[in-house]
């Protein structure tokens, strides 16, 4: 091929590449669901879940309860974090999602200062956009909490987070990487309890790290079966660092009334111990489907 032809090809290629890069260097939000994303068939209720096995179990329970009541259900599980799926709930792409009152309230209104379960729920209802309706919240809760080993609690006479002031020396707080930046992380501990702590990321194995002594205080979800299994002690939170975070079904406003009866029955029947037990079964290797079916049957809902 002629050298001239070659040069033209190279130039064309470079121009195309440049155009693509410039055109694409948009400021659009890459974390937003793309338009024309997964659209469901008109009548099916789309149920989503977080990328968290416990949340998936609750979502599956909702799904089976609805199917049992004659609804058509589409499952779209392990979507990811709140910021990822909330827009989809608002737009109606997702119809139902198991959430947690406290965390969701903080997502919509980070100045919220209420901490009791009822208050948090009321505040949440007020803070939600028009397109999302919160159905009844459940007694079951699964929230962040600070835990220590039984020995550490005894040695330092700890019952509440405030008691950590008794500890001599450095306090190493562990949790998922994001804890460093969350309001209830090290900054919150300092603001509300006047504690200066060192943060160590421990990923999903916080409970084990705590038990192994790699960290002194660990952020473990309250429904994590490891708390009981490893003999951990949850520190009380008098200053309200953590908002109460009960399981609450968030539904798209246009179908909320239709499914309210079924879902509210589920929420009413689920206790805090139930959730921990469900998680334990999952950790023991049970499949989400079976665990959900068993619970619904035992609760007399199917």
């Amino acid at each position: 091929m002629h050298a001239q032809h070659q040069r033209r090809l190279v130039a064309a290629g470079l121009a195309t590449a440049a155009a693509l890069i410039l055109a694409g260097c948009a400021s659009g939000d890459p974390l937003a669901e793309e338009d024309g994303g997964e659209s469901s068939s008109s009548d099916a209720i789309v149920i989503g879940s977080q990328d968290y096995y416990s949340n998936e179990i609750v979502a599956e329970i909702y799904a089976q309860a609805l199917e049992n009541a004659g609804f058509e259900v589409e499952r779209n599980f392990s979507i990811g974090q709140r910021e990822a799926y909330m827009p989809s709930i608002e737009s109606g792409e997702i119809d139902l999602f198991p959430e947690y009152t406290g965390n969701t309230l903080q997502y919509f209104d980070d100045t919220a200062s209420v901490t009791e379960a009822d208050e948090v729920y009321e505040a949440l209802v007020a803070a939600l956009p028009e397109s999302i309706t919160a159905l009844d919240y459940s007694e079951a809760s699964d929230q962040d909490s600070y835990n220590v080993t039984a020995e550490y609690a005894e040695a330092n006479d700890l019952t509440t987070i405030a008691d950590l002031a008794n500890v001599d020396g450095e306090i190493r707080v562990g949790g998922p990487a994001e804890l460093e930046e969350r309001e209830y992380g090290p900054t919150g501990l300092e603001e509300l309890y006047g504690l200066t702590v060192a943060f160590e990321p421990t990923a999903a194995t916080t409970a084990e790290a705590l038990a192994a002594g790699q960290i002194d205080v660990g952020n473990v979800y309250s429904a994590d079966p490891n708390i009981a299994a490893l003999g951990l002690v949850t520190l009380e939170d008098p200053e309200g660092l953590f908002l109460a975070s009960n399981v609450v079904p968030l539904a798209s406003s246009d179908i909320a009334d239709e499914i309210a009866e079924v879902i509210n029955a589920v929420s009413a029947a689920m206790t805090a111990e139930d959730l921990v037990a469900l998680n334990q079964e999952s950790v023991d290797g049970g499949s989400t489907d079976d665990i959900a079916t068993e619970w619904l049957t035992a609760a007399g809902l199917v």
Partner: protein
């Protein structure tokens, strides 16, 4: 503001020098894990590769191993080893995963390098009275260096990429910032950290390219040098 600009802003912000894992420390950890893993893998794979290349035995096994290793999802391997060895030894588990992933490339580079040496050169060396060891160390290894470096290059890049994934088990390194960014849904953080990883990978690649140029023996591909040429 353009997404790349936001990422650069995140990278250059003074906050990056403080916090749980300052960026400089993260980069240092990343390089450290990579170096240690590649060195360990090299210590295992190079002698083995030389042996296979020199004796010609076990070639099929080596080729098969390299092929199979390509199929291993490194992410899964890390998680498996970390769980198996326990949280207290997660670093060891991760390094074992890195070493396992690095061995095949280095092994292939070592034996391919030795294999690629012209048989006539080897025969000539033998006929001149060199022992098998001398042939291996003075003829085959030096001439095979470029291919060995190629294998090391592949291995290093693979490990750099895998160390990034190990952020999921909180191994530190630049992966920490990617995982944290994913959890916090801060795109500028995820992009910024990824850009660092890319720059690191490209820099290492360039370094290896330079080393390869530097070690090319005079003839390049093992052509017999005048002294050892058969008449």
């Amino acid at each position: 503001m353009n997404l790349f600009q936001e990422a650069l802003a995140w990278l250059t912000s003074p906050d990056r020098a403080s916090g749980t894992l300052p960026l400089a420390e993260a980069i240092g950890q990343h390089i450290g894990f990579t170096a240690v893993s590649v060195l360990i893998a090299a210590a295992i794979a190079i002698p083995l590769g030389y042996l296979i290349g020199h004796t010609g035995k076990g070639r099929e096994m080596a080729v098969g191993l390299s092929g199979a290793a390509r199929a291993i999802p490194s992410f899964g391997l890390i998680l498996l080893l970390v769980l198996v060895l326990g949280v207290t030894r997660s670093e060891i588990g991760a390094v074992i995963a890195f070493v396992l992933l690095a061995i095949p490339s280095i092994l292939a580079g070592a034996y391919a390098g030795v294999q690629a040496v012209d048989r006539r050169t080897v025969d000539a060396a033998r006929s001149v009275g060199m022992t098998e060891w001398q042939i291996l160390l003075k003829v085959e290894a030096p001439l095979g260096l470029p291919l060995l470096i190629g294998g090391l290059r592949s291995a290093t890049l693979q490990v750099v990429a895998t160390v990034t994934l190990a952020g999921y088990v909180n191994l530190g390194g630049i992966g920490f910032h990617i995982i944290q960014g994913l959890q916090l849904r801060r795109y500028e953080q995820i992009l910024g950290a990824s850009l660092i990883v890319v720059v690191l990978a490209l820099t290492l690649d360039l370094l290896f390219a330079l080393i390869t140029l530097a070690v090319r023996p005079g003839g390049g591909s093992g052509r017999p040098r005048r002294r050892l040429a058969t008449s």
